[in-house]
Amino acid sequence: MTKPIKQGEPVTRRVSRRGFLITGFAAGGGLAVGLTPGGMTDALAQKVLGTAGDEIGAWVVIKPNDDVVIRIARSEMGQGTLTGLAQLVAEELDCDWKRVKWEYPTPGQNLARNRIWGDMSTGGSRGIRGSHDYVRQGGAAAKQMLRQAAADLWKVPAEEVTAANSILQHEKSKRRTTYGKVAAAAAKLPVPDLKTMKLKDARDWKIAGKSMKRLDTLDKLTGKQVYGIDLKLPGMLYASIKDAPVHKSTLKSYDDSKAKAMPGVKGVYKVGDGAVAVVADTWWQANKALEAVTIVYDHPSTDGKSHDTVTSESITEFQRGGLDATDNIVVGNKVGDAAGAIAGATKKIEAIYTAPYLHHVTMEPMNCTAKWTADKCEVWVPTQNGEASLAACAAAAGLPPAKCEVYKIHLGGGFGRRGQQDYTTKAVLLAKQMPGVPVKLLYSREEDMRRGFFRPISQCKLQAGLDAQGNLVGLSARISGQSIFAGILPQVLAQNQGQDFLAFQGLWPIDGPRAAEGGFGYTIPNLSIDYAMRNTHVTPGFWRGVNNNQNSVYIECFMDEVAKAANKDPVEFRRALMSKDPRTAKHLRVLDAVVEKSGYGKPLPAGQFYGVAQQMGFGSYTAACAIVSVSDRGKVTVHRLVMGTDCGHVVNPDQVDAQVVGSVAYGLSATFFEEITIKNGAVEQENLDTYEILRMADFPEKVETVTVPSGGFWGGVGEPTIMVAAPAVLNAIFAATGKPVRSLPLKNVKLRT
């Protein structure tokens, strides 16, 4: 008998274990998938709605009743990009925002129409910054077509027709009509060349730049929102899967005799090289039966070491070797002669920092529903990249992409994990073994944990030299770590002479080709930042913020160590290094903004300390100031955290605030608690009882955002600020205890002795 867990009782972190598409507009036109939300047990038959008659260019559908349906190509996973993109289209369209609905065009339609909606990939904080121009052009083109349609109707020049708030007017003849009334005529007009569209100046925005309410909130508060995990199709069966806990290992044999006899079980199938799936009437039955399957694996070896003998310790040892290696070193940022300058310095500082593997833990575990026939394969999937899902579906189905279709469903979190398509591939490989039957494959949380795509493990050796006046004369940073590209996108590595440029996120030369993405904000006369790639069999992945997160801890925490050695205030020490080059002026401006807002330097209550950090990433400039205390027993309290961002343009201030504050939870959860460790080649943490995550009580008492958009560029928002939350807090801890924190998570670190 299981004792129910009541909320309000302290939940122990170890609990004993027993053993349609929803568009915002279901009735809408266009090419979206229309699934009837209805009763959750009802069939949700997908259908491609086709009301081509009122499609006004690719991005806008206007209904006769004046509803405006805006197509969204990127995936919504909580980050608000859906609403922001709709705002940008609506701004140029000059429509009535209250009538705006949305829909996802399908990846199959995108393919059939020569990628008219562009890139569907949603990662790297690119949702808005990667599509702001063409979606606005799409809105502007639709407006031009509507004006032309009214002009044709009234037999007047189009230039004399004005459009605002979904109303068209001809001033001279005092005539007016609505978008909906001329939509059908507008839809028949040729779409103008988008490149010729003149876009509004951001200063004239009325819909963009404002804190419009999200378009996708209501159903999330009532349980009506359908996520991939909630989908139900007629005749659908449920599946649970187990792939090799040691990544890259393969299935040798399995015994499913017990499982096959269990209630509800329809079949046990091999999926791919390493996985076994059980299909049953309900997911619980499938998962229970899966636990009764015994599986034997074959483990490959790397450099004579069988993968099932690998441990976190052996990986750390292996990567430590990279810190002083001289072969195959990739230089990311080099100025002058760092080694020489440090060797000749009055004072030398050296430290080694480490960062563990991390798991994404989307609240909704990985899932995909697939239906395969010899003629067509369809998948319903929460995905960050609909086109990648289509490619994975086609490859697994053994069908051309034109015979496949992907229906994107709201994501219960993404954070980079749902850019990978392992679950799409597996769902299709499984469905292919049951032609005509829709199968919903859902990973158990345990499977989701074991088969993660982890933020890669790495370490960094830092050295600095100060002159007699405490000026920084040289800085070197050697990163030794696992490459994401090598693990999951080897073709990118191959295109770059085997070098992983992503290892240097946020540290790229300010005069180099990636400066606009993440230029290093300090001017140091002798600088060396390089990288020794040290890969393991454990699969790495893009984890919200990616390599920026550990790079910022390495550089920004070490910067405070060096400032202390120089007897200088950390902010003043940074300012001196950020004032020498006009190309770092925006970095400094954001740091100054958080310094001002936080009151940095002003007296604090006893026991509280400031800590700052800054870095540029995903095209945005960020900085943070933390105010922290550390109790006598080593408990950390973050009293206040001021988060600064210059993302160029702000499309929805309230959603920028939501992203920045939310990113603090993600970043500090990793800082305080999160760690994936490897034993016998496999992930040790199989659920949230062993993989701790930050909760309400651990969240800073107050997080404030300072957004200082300087215009002239478009930076990302979903990820950048994560990277400064951790070092700001760690630097405040350093100020409080006098001891730098060089390894994470903090739960493993004794802050007071």
Partner: protein, 155 residues
């Protein structure tokens, strides 16, 4: 077979007694607003009310429930979706991906029933649900707003 009282209705569900309530609700009763997050009582995405107490439905077996036990899911919290917590959540745009929010709302509603004017400590103790989007600050503000008759409480 199990007889359960869910959202005021008596349901006969074809389910083994050792099935967790979560899966009976989701796969058999079709009430998918109650979410699977971890299955081990950690994350709170599956929070429902049983006889007025918030509980994690993944950690309750169907056989341990009596036909008279009153189970309320997010779908039954307020038929019109206008519970004060839901209204505050809408006003403050608490949800991001939204996956954990039904559980957060059930936990918050139960807290306010017990403690109509919760302190920050009460909120910390009661709201142990995990949110990966990191909406904690707005969850707290939403609870305070709901407790304040729907008026925003300056943070």
């Amino acid at each position: 077979m199990a007889k359960l009282n869910v959202n005021g209705k008596s349901l006969d569900l074809k389910v083994d007694g050792d099935t967790p309530l979560l899966w009976a609700l989701r796969d058999q009763a079709g009430l998918t607003g109650t979410k699977y997050g971890c299955g081990v009582g950690q994350c709170g995405a599956c929070s429902v009310h049983v006889n007025g107490e918030v509980q994690r439905s993944c950690a309750i077996l169907v056989k341990d429930l009596k036909p008279g036990d009153r189970i309320v899911t997010i779908e039954g919290l307020s038929p019109s979706g206008t519970h004060p917590v839901q209204k505050a959540w809408l006003e403050l745009e608490v949800a991001q991906c939204g996956y954990c929010q039904t559980g957060q709302i059930m936990a918050a509603a139960a807290l306010l029933k017990k403690k109509p004017k919760p302190t920050d400590k009460d909120i910390d103790d009661a709201m142990t649900n995990i949110c990966r989007c990191g909406t904690y600050q707005r969850v707290r503000a939403g609870i305070k707003m709901a407790a304040n008759g729907g008026k925003k409480v300056p943070g």
